[in-house]
Amino acid sequence: MASCKATDAVYHVDPPTAAKKVRELFYCAHMIHSHIAHFYALAAPDFVLGPTSDPAERNILGLVAKVGLEIGGEVIKHRAYAQDIQAVIGGKATHPVFALPGGISKPVTEEERKDFEEKAKSLVDFAKFSVNLFNDLVLSNKEYLDLITGDIYTMKSYYMGLVDSSNRVNFYEGDIRVVDEDGKEVAKFKPAEYLDYIAEHTEPWSYLKFPFLKKVGWKGLVEGKDSGVYRVSPLARLNAADGMATPLAQAEYEKMYQTLGGKPVHATLVFHWARLIEIVYAAERLLELCQDKEITSPEVRTIPTATPDEGVGVVEAPRGTLIHHYQTDDRGIIQKANLIVATGHNYPAMNMSVKRAAQGLIKKGVVASEGLLNMVEMAFRAYDPCMACATHNLPGQMPLEVVIYNSRGEVAERLNRL
């Protein structure tokens, strides 16, 4: 979707409102499927089974065994609803083929709209169920609540996210807003201005660059208002906004901040809670769009007339702000492309989170091996990272090594999963 919006900008064309609404409807379904998969397959097992439980059980199979087959069935069914909506609008759920500069390739029919509406209603119920499940299983368990709010998973930073004209979270379009660790707005800018606000540092030990806030400056992998490290993510979006644009999500938003003692929240594991609140918003917004009279309009494309040259498209991807910037020749063939993906924005913070977790979990040379590796991984996994996108390269597996040094700087132990 970021690419699609970048091509609108490259061709200096504004799609008809119906096209934007259909794109946003598709995009809400996309957020839902991704967030559902992440929470239930990747995050929930840590909380439901416990972070130090046997790895053979600490996965979606163990989760289903513990919470019940029926819930498992609901997860698969609702994720499939979201995928189906994307497939109908986009041609395919994965690698959709409907987006064009100036709009989309075909309108939504009334029959399709009715089907989407039924699915959307079920998705709203499932979203509410998921947030309640988190409440029941996690928040009412003091051990987990302490884990979530504990020091090893807490990190102060700036936060970035897209907001609408009322400073509410919007996945599809808006201005990019940045708040500091106290929640005060420090920047709000149009996507096309991103290079005035974001710069990238490099280190010789990584293919991935380290984005930072230009006006604050790069001070290294350190916290504090003087450090330009910032985060994107569901939690960052909620921190950077003043609220949610739909009622149920807004209620959950208020409850979250009330429970955790105010805004902004710096606890990395709360990314998962925020993710669930976003499923609620995405489902409510999906339903709103399904019931919008314009959603079946046949006017879904404005043919571009300007000569293409350069443009920036930004959306909120499931993991955070996604920037696509293209420069083209006068035929529209891309000559240069700059992508900053969520995992890129988060890279400095991810390194810091993992280090903090490792430092907090290894005391006086005592390492709790398997449980420790998973708890360190939890810090990393909260970001739902895509290293392939961020480095534009491939992972083959998720290697993890924790190197423990003694007080003389010698390697005392290596724990790895390489």
């Binding site: 289903v64 069935g73 698969i76 994965t94 990272p385 992972p395």
Partner: protein
């Protein structure tokens, strides 16, 4: 018997696209009402969604094994994939986990799943063509799938 022939892979990553290449060949050769040919660049939960509702699935994909020779083709069942190189995707569950989940949840999975895995050379270079030895396996694997479709292993 409703059969799904599924070519797995990324068509712009050299040999990773072998499954997709074979699927595209098969589309030209298969003309049965009970057989659907699809291609997909996804795994895990998405794969579960694709497989649901079919009696039989034939999956074609790339593989890299420790001692394999590029160009070899293996006929495997799902039990061979309890641990795979792609188990580590941070975004999804692996094939074996997805199948097991499907079974436990009563998802109507195919009774029979056959996997044709091609030993490949290069899955990390961006290219729309497979490497030469792997490209040569396309007609071979296509024939194997056509023959498999002619076999009814319903017992």
């Amino acid at each position: 018997m409703k059969t799904l022939v599924l070519g797995l892979g990324n068509p712009i990553l050299s040999d990773d696209g072998i499954g997709v290449c074979v699927a595209r060949e098969l589309e030209n050769r298969i003309d049965g009402q009970d057989v659907k040919v699809e291609e997909i660049g996804a795994g895990g939960l998405a794969l579960l969604h694709e497989l649901a509702g079919y009696d039989r699935a034939i999956i074609i994909d790339a593989i890299q094994t420790r001692d394999g020779e590029v160009g070899q083709v293996y006929r495997l069942g799902p039990e061979a994939f309890d641990s795979t190189r792609h188990a580590g995707s941070p975004h999804d569950i692996n094939f074996a986990t997805a199948l097991e989940l499907g079974k436990r949840l009563g998802v109507p999975l195919p009774r029979q799943i056959v996997i044709f895995a091609v030993e490949v050379e290069d899955v990390t270079t961006f290219s729309e063509r497979c490497t030469p030895k792997v490209e040569q396996t396309i007609p071979v694997v296509t024939d194997m799938v056509v023959q498999e479709l002619g076999n009814d292993h319903s017992s």
